[in-house]
Amino acid sequence: MTEIPPSSGKKLGLVIDLDTCVGCQACATNCKQWNAGGHLAPLPDMKPYSAGAEGVWFNRVHSYEAGEGAEGRTVHFPRSCLHCETPACVTVCPTGASYKRAEDGIVLVNTDTCIGCGLCAWACPYGARELDEDEGVMKKCTLCVDRIYNETIPEAQRKPACVITCPVGARHFGDLGDPGSDVSQLVAARGGFDLMPEMGYAPTNKYLPPRRPMAPNPNPPAEAEPTPLDLKNPLLRWLDRALSR
């Protein structure tokens, strides 16, 4: 059923820190690696060894410049499904293949019933869905539903592939419906925000803003002069004494 189910209160999602992301593409790469064999596998690659290589990825890392001059900065920006609370990609689906799970809010596609009409991708403002042109069905981020509940892997690894691989800890996973969870606390402390809030789809995933660069100290300390004790070299110590007279 493509109507949005009543929420259980649990909203699993990601918090992405734009301050620490270095744009290394590890999240995108590990996502592709895991999901090529995961819940919505395979993820096709067309012409992988020649010009025009392209394929389905659930996570794409853009880089932007924001602001001008000394205030300006480069921001790396991973873009993936935000598992919205009121996702239009679900309600437009004519077959019921696109659905939102009541128990944890994850938005998924049933590739056995998807007809590949592409309307859900048209309805998503974030470009989170990509058509698998090999299989003729829609594919999207699963929030690694096959990792986070997977009791056959060590508990510490029961997180989305993008989170576990991030070398700078810029990606966090947890329950954003619980105000006491680590991710909710982080969002509250850092002023996490929604992407395109004006579209009204209430994304679950939050982004943390880049911190403002520290203002330069208006009264920088004068360079400290070396004391005789700093000068280990006897020749320099004599020179310092001679010149200081």
């Binding site: 059923m1 493509t2 109507e3 734009l18 744009g23 995108a28 025009g52 392209e54 389905v56 990825w57 794409r60 890392v61 853009h62 880089s63 932007y64 410049e65 924001a66 602001g67 001008e68 205030e71 300006g72 480069t74 921001v75 920006f77 873009r79 239009a88 437009v92 689906c93 004519p94 077959t95 019921g96 293949a97 019933t113 998807c114 007809i115 590949g116 009409c117 592409g118 309307l119 991708a121 048209w122 309805a123 998503c124 403002p125 974030y126 470009g127 990509e130 058509l131 042109e133 003729g136 069905v137 829609m138 925000f193 992407l195 395109m196 004006e198 579209m199 009204g200 982004y207 803003p209």
Partner: protein
Amino acid sequence: MNPAPSIVFFTTASGAGYGLLFWLGVLRPLRLLPASPSFALLALAIALLLITAGLASSLLHLGRPERAWRALSQWRSSWLSREGVAAIATYVPAGIMGLALLADRPGLATVAGMAAAIGAAVTVWCTGMIYASLKTVRQWHHPSVAPGYLLFAGFTGAMLLAAIGALAGRPVVPAMLSILLAIGALAAKRSYWKAMDAPKPAAAPTLESATGLGFIGRTRPLDPPHTEQNWLLREMGFRLARKHREKLRNLVILGFVATIPLALLAMIIGGPFGALLMVLAALAALAAMLAERWLMFAEATHTVTLYYNGES
């Protein structure tokens, strides 16, 4: 947005077919059309042929056409599903109308024809709402889009009915109707284009709101996430039309305008030559509709392109 030929053909052909079915069902009980059952049967056959060809073409757009029947299930939330249900439901009264005409049951044919007219209007409305309900595409999420689908279906349908009427020697009512609708279509299209060419509303999404980086300052793309194409860019980043916008718009206007003198002349001349002119007018209307539908897709921009080129 990518103007997939299967969808451009579908909305043009089915739109004209449903328009024809609508006017046939409405005008026939008012005795404004040739009375013979053979005329109604011919018009009904052409309408159903166009509708069926269009629907078949729309299946080509699917990644898995063999599962198309599943699209009938989610009519509670999905306009695409509603369109499918309405399209199939409309075959029932249309089919009954055909059988009643064959069996010489004029009362039943009239009732079934009116039911088919309602079905046709509902189906075209659903088609329009598929596009009009998408907030992600500013050019589609506009109050004139769904009524426009009705208007253009009505125009091309009336034009076809006039052409079939001319072949039967009585085209005046549908021809006058099509002239009125042509003027309406021209006015609607011009006011729509004017609204689209106006500066974007301040509330429209920007790269700053899409990334949340507006608090730092103006935001622009630096490095793309991939250097080759992907499906998103081919489907939603189609840009060719904006380059040829003016020429294509003029072509649409020319096609709509041309139907008016052609239809008038056809009515004045009458006879086989007049019928030929009326058929030409209908073909001009359909050709202009194809161009209009192509532009409707090709001029539309999707918010995902904000992430790629900072514009939408």
